[in-house]
């Protein structure tokens, strides 16, 4: 069972994408919903809202513990902002579990949102990959042990650190995304 953090954001789109890869999912709104999960999705949405609700509902610490224990994680857009060890523009607190620095809304406002073709590295076995970027953040620093799986121009947009797979775009909004397929593999191998 894969849990999808459902405090706010495009959690329904994620559940749909997981179902298409044969993964059963549930919504995570409280600490007890984290029990017995084989994977976790941190969806897109507004990171400021999610941070407040994680705190209000006592989810922050249980989430950190579950991820630190090695639960496979897919984080997209607001999700990578929640996980990053440093958040800029403006600076805000985060879970600090992914060794990257991200800049929020780095490409501009909604008019800069776009569907872009990405460049993939050998780490991701797919010939082509599109990325749906919505008021997207930018990874401005990649730390030790973090592999870059795809880039948009110079910018890393898909990274992996152990069991954490994180994107600045929304694979859940692309049909049959190889990124969701890779996450499904990670979940199956682990469980």
């Amino acid at each position: 069972m894969v849990g999808v953090l459902a405090l706010q954001g495009d959690f329904s789109a994620h559940r749909q994408a997981l179902a298409e890869r044969g993964l059963v999912s549930c919504e995570v709104r409280k600490p007890q919903h984290l029990e017995g999960l084989t994977g976790l999705v941190l969806p897109g949405g507004e990171s400021t809202t999610m941070l407040k609700l994680l705190d209000a509902f006592g989810l922050q610490q249980p989430l950190v513990e579950a991820i630190t224990a090695g639960l496979p994680v897919l984080a997209t857009c607001a999700g990578i902002i929640l996980l990053a060890e440093e958040v800029r523009h403006p600076s805000q607190p985060s879970l600090g579990l992914l060794r990257v620095a991200v800049e929020r809304n780095a490409y501009g406002r909604q008019l800069a949102s776009t569907v872009a073709q990405l460049q993939v590295t050998d780490e991701l076995p797919t010939p082509s990959l599109e990325g749906v970027f919505i008021r997207a953040p930018r990874v401005v620093r990649v730390g030790e042990g973090v592999k870059v799986l795809a880039t948009r121009g110079e910018d890393p947009v898909l990274v992996r650190q152990g069991a954490i797979l994180a994107a600045t775009f929304h694979p859940e909004l692309s049909p049959a995304s190889p990124v969701v397929a890779l996450f499904a593999d990670m979940v199956r191998r682990k469980s």
Binding site: A6, G9, D10, S12, G44, G45, Q110, T114, V132, H170
Partner: protein, 295 residues
Amino acid sequence: MNFTSPEFRVKVGLAEMLKGGVIMDVTDAAQARIAEDAGAVAVMALERVPADIRAEGGVARMASIEKIEEIMQAVSIPVMAKCRIGHVAEARILEALQVDFVDESEVLTPADEENHIWKHDFRVPFVCGCRNLGEALRRIAEGAAMIRTKGEAGSGNIVEAVRHLRAVQRELRRLTTLAPEELVAASKELQAPLELVQWVATHGKLPVPNFAAGGVATPADAALCMMLGAESVFVGSGIFKSEDPARRAAAIVKAVAQWQDPEALLEASRHLGGGMRGLDVSRLTPEEMLSRRGW
């Protein structure tokens, strides 16, 4: 209708990100910061909240540019702004200003009493109000990337939003039971394009996110909208016309996130202070009903 073009996917994409959240009406930077601190997913920049528009009368237009800019600079969450129904020029100005979403809204005085804006021509996404499925589908045909109920803005009374949510859901359910040839008659009856009627009949939902608005004044009102199938909630006058806006705003955010949990709703409903006074909608004349605007 091409729901798979990159332009449309990016517009609907932002609406997807706002799901499960609360979008709050604000009239200046200070209110915008209160909204963001309370956990709003977006703010709607406007000159006067609907309750004041209703009380003061006069022509309600797009907010002043300086006001919208002040709000855009104050917060990091998306900023929406309203244009008048059919006012293509106001919409172009808001797009040039780079607001994140335009609300072609019945709360402002309509500029065109026959036509809405052809929203496909814009890069900025639009949200439009509806009272029923036919109206929703006409707006989607024109290019709206998000639909909200009209409710009765500035009334502090949820009854109209409930009416509109129920109407949309009932008509959606009905379409899923019809035979192909009956969908042609349904299209005629709904005054909506057959192609969209067929899409809805197959999928059992709208092709764009479906939010609630108009008359939300309490955490319970917001939760009720979610229970009736809304995917997010707009709150207008209900927050800044109450005694303790910051507290009420945060409580409404929590209620929307935990709408399925009565214990959480109970907690969110404690110690709110006084709510906005509100209106008995049944005593309004048809001319006073903002939800009658739009076609």
